[in-house]
Symmetry: C3
Subunit: 349 residues, 3 copies
């Protein structure tokens, strides 16, 4: 099970250049101070240079220009990329794929499962649904009626994709993600909230990854959409008919209200809230923390605060608010001084 | 599978009045600008009147008083209600009900399943639990020991109802909802948090609907309650012994602390937080955004902010805070002017 | 099924001292005003003394020094502890354990299941995983490849423990908890977010309890850790490589960013957010509400606000902010008075 590489092999994998003793074999990867003498480690930047003398690793990945190392090194132009490739080199093989359909999976006769798809124990695929080649549905995944799952997807246990949804290729859904629950759509009549049927679906495009327990509601009509390459963290809520563009990054605990449109390459920081029916432009960045967006945001803006405004203006505002106790003091003093001036002026007149 | 209606049939279904060519047949519904020539669409208000010339729909639902339309129309007194009924007319039949108990479901001998209830693949119903007539438990739903599920409920995959809970009639639970997990109840002793056993349950009343991944904890003793007709969004947390009244609306990401009581017809906006042991009156509205309720709220109040106060007062406060940078400037200027006045007064004396 | 105790037996169980008629038998426990004549109830403090005349309970647990009661009583030194033990005395027996492995569970040949562990219906345990003695995995729990579950754990339905995680002894995981999903780790290259493989795991130490739908991500490398005795509420997000110390208390909806370290005995209030790569000292308390921690916090501090600061300073700041409307008024008045003084000074010169 343990993989091992020569330093030259590993340099090839991570896109770097080996330096030093080429006979070194590497059997694992670990943090700088935890690495054992047969393992490889890495240093992301010069800040950690002081620690490398305490490092027992057999070899180090370092950024180009890092300087001397007491052990063999792999010099990397793009250290972030190389470290990711390094982790990949030592990760276990993809997906615990069982190959084929587990005996306990329940697949409707009308569903189409590609020959080399893997369906784990207790997976359920309902009528007219399909699962594409090389996709892996781990134990207990549910695919509802008529939903389509593309190629090379990986859905972890507990994922629920309800009926009428479209999941494109290479989509990763982490455990207990919910795609296609009904949105909160009601109208008020006769003293009660009356349901608006949700007859739309959800479309998740290529290369999207979605974190655990995130919930993406189906559209009232048409599609709720998450664009190609977008990555979403845990416990995020996207309401009905939300449209997220391509290559966005949405951090944990974000909430987006119904029918809001988000452009490409947007970044929504942790716990950001966005109201419904808004338009958030391409490349918008919403700062983590207490950012609540209540108005449209033009492309390229960085915003924060409640209601969200330009981040710099918000920082100025926050800084000025911190001065309010001092302002109150100064004002109190000033009132007394003005009173004295008035009294003195009155005496003289 | 495709349903179709004449315009007169559809007018009957949505409670409106047909106008124009009665031979038109409608085979689907779509947004105004997406609708094809055999589909019906709708216009909610006069704001969209300008777009109807670009609409290819065979017919339009419009509010009464909307005016002329280039295609046949259905005139609706209550357009929100009619659109909901329109969606219902084109929705697939309810619940993918399989009818009966799937062969892979595990039902304890002592559990009672009504004859026309539907239990999907891998459903588990434990000892002494019961499921009422016409209720649909989709694949993988779990009903714990002694829990009772009423009539015409629909629970989506991944729903967990733990032991000793009562779910009344026509309750909809979206995927991965958790009913009856233990609350966070501990006392501190000998350097450790010691568990308080939670021997109560949860009672969900008629016509409640609960969004994906929402968690409603069981009571320490007695019941955590969600009253009749209340609708709850995704990722909401109701702690142990919370009491929610009837016909409330609770938006995504709301958190309510233990034993807090919420009256009827309350509306809690997105991400609102409410402390424990509070009393929130009938008809209270808590604004979405940064609203944290830390005190009892009287009936009918609209509140916002942290700590939450009357919404109007909060709006005034927020507006005044935005002026603090200007206040600081004015104050600085004033200090200089007073200093000059003092110097001048001193010179003269 | 109904248990009953004499008052003397119950006094022994709850660690108190019986007073009054020793022939009383107690068959249940209920709130003060709900208790029936064969049930026991409790009063936590003198505040509720006025209600005990309306109480029909056969006996009451009271704190020492509480005074007279119209019915027999059990005098308790530590009333919180005794009430917890009282609830325990009337709780149903632990865990609905089925004993053994349910016929529908899918356990890999290479997995090790202790003889007296209980695996419910549709449980899945993958290759090389293990489950220790007396542990109960309720229906539908998933244990991934190579993960280790210790002794006397209880995992409720829908729990997902992915591959390569370590769960120690007496750990309770409530429904739909996710342990070991990948963190949000990407680097940007060629216009796309590229995945950083997460080759680490999660370590949950002894006596930890974790609420429903909480998500704890696996480490990029090494372990995400939750220390011994820590209790976590529902819908919490701990990102990759977070390190939580021992005996902490983390309330609902908390979000902790990647690689942040939290000391022992910390308390994180509801919905608190903590940025990544921070160090939060032992015994730190973060107030519920709008607390966002953006800097390291020294041991023992109590903080609140955004950015979080010492709680007292934050309270002063909040109080001063509430005065801003009045400050604006005073300032406006003062500007007018200074203008008059200046005019008058000008006239005289």
């Amino acid at each position: 099970m343990t993989r091992s590489y020569t330093i030259v092999e590993l340099a090839g994998i991570v896109g770097g250049k080996a330096r030093g003793d080429e006979s070194v074999r590497l059997t694992g990867v670990a943090d700088l101070l935890q690495a054992k003498p047969d393992q490889v480690s890495w240093v992301s930047n010069a800040k950690f240079a002081g620690q490398i003398n305490q490092c027992h690793a057999a070899a180090l990945l370092v950024p180009s220009g890092f300087g001397e190392t007491p052990m063999p090194a792999i010099i990397c132009e793009r250290i972030d990329r190389s470290v990711a490739l390094l982790f990949g080199a030592f990760s276990r093989s993809a997906g615990n794929a069982i190959g084929g359909v587990h005996a306990t999976a329940v697949v409707h006769d009308s569903a189409e499962i590609a020959k080399n798809a893997s369906l784990g124990a207790h997976v359920v695929v309902e009528a007219n649904a399909s699962v594409g080649p090389h996709s892996v549905l781990h134990a207990g995944v549910f695919i509802g009626e008529g939903s389509i799952v593309g190629e090379r997807c990986e859905f972890w246990p507990g994922v629920v994709v309800r009926d009428g949804c479209l999941i494109c290729d290479r989509v990763v859904l982490h455990p207990n993600v919910v795609i296609g629950g009904d949105g909160l759509g009601f109208y008020f009549d006769e003293g009660c909230h009356q349901k608006v049927p949700h007859i739309g679906g959800v479309r998740i495009e290529d290369d999207v990854e979605i974190g655990a327990c995130t919930c993406i509601d189906r559209a009232k009509i048409g599609y709720t959409r998450v664009g190609r390459g977008t990555k979403i963290d845990n416990l995020v809520h996207l309401a009905h008919n939300v449209q997220v563009g391509e290559h966005c990054m949405i951090l944990a605990d974000v909430t987006v209200g119904g029918s809001t449109q988000i452009g490409n390459y947007a970044v929504l920081g942790g716990a950001v809230g966005i109201s419904d029916n808004l338009s958030i432009g391409d490349g918008v960045r919403c700062a983590s923390g207490l950012t609540i967006v209540t108005k449209d945001i033009p492309p390229g803006a960085t915003v924060s605060g409640f209601p969200a405004q330009a981040h710099r203006a918000e920082l100025r505002l926050q800084a000025s608010l911190r001065k309010v106790p001092a302002i109150a003091e100064t004002l109190k003093d000033l009132v007394a001084r003005v009173k004295r001036l008035e009294a003195s002026a009155h005496d003289k007149s």
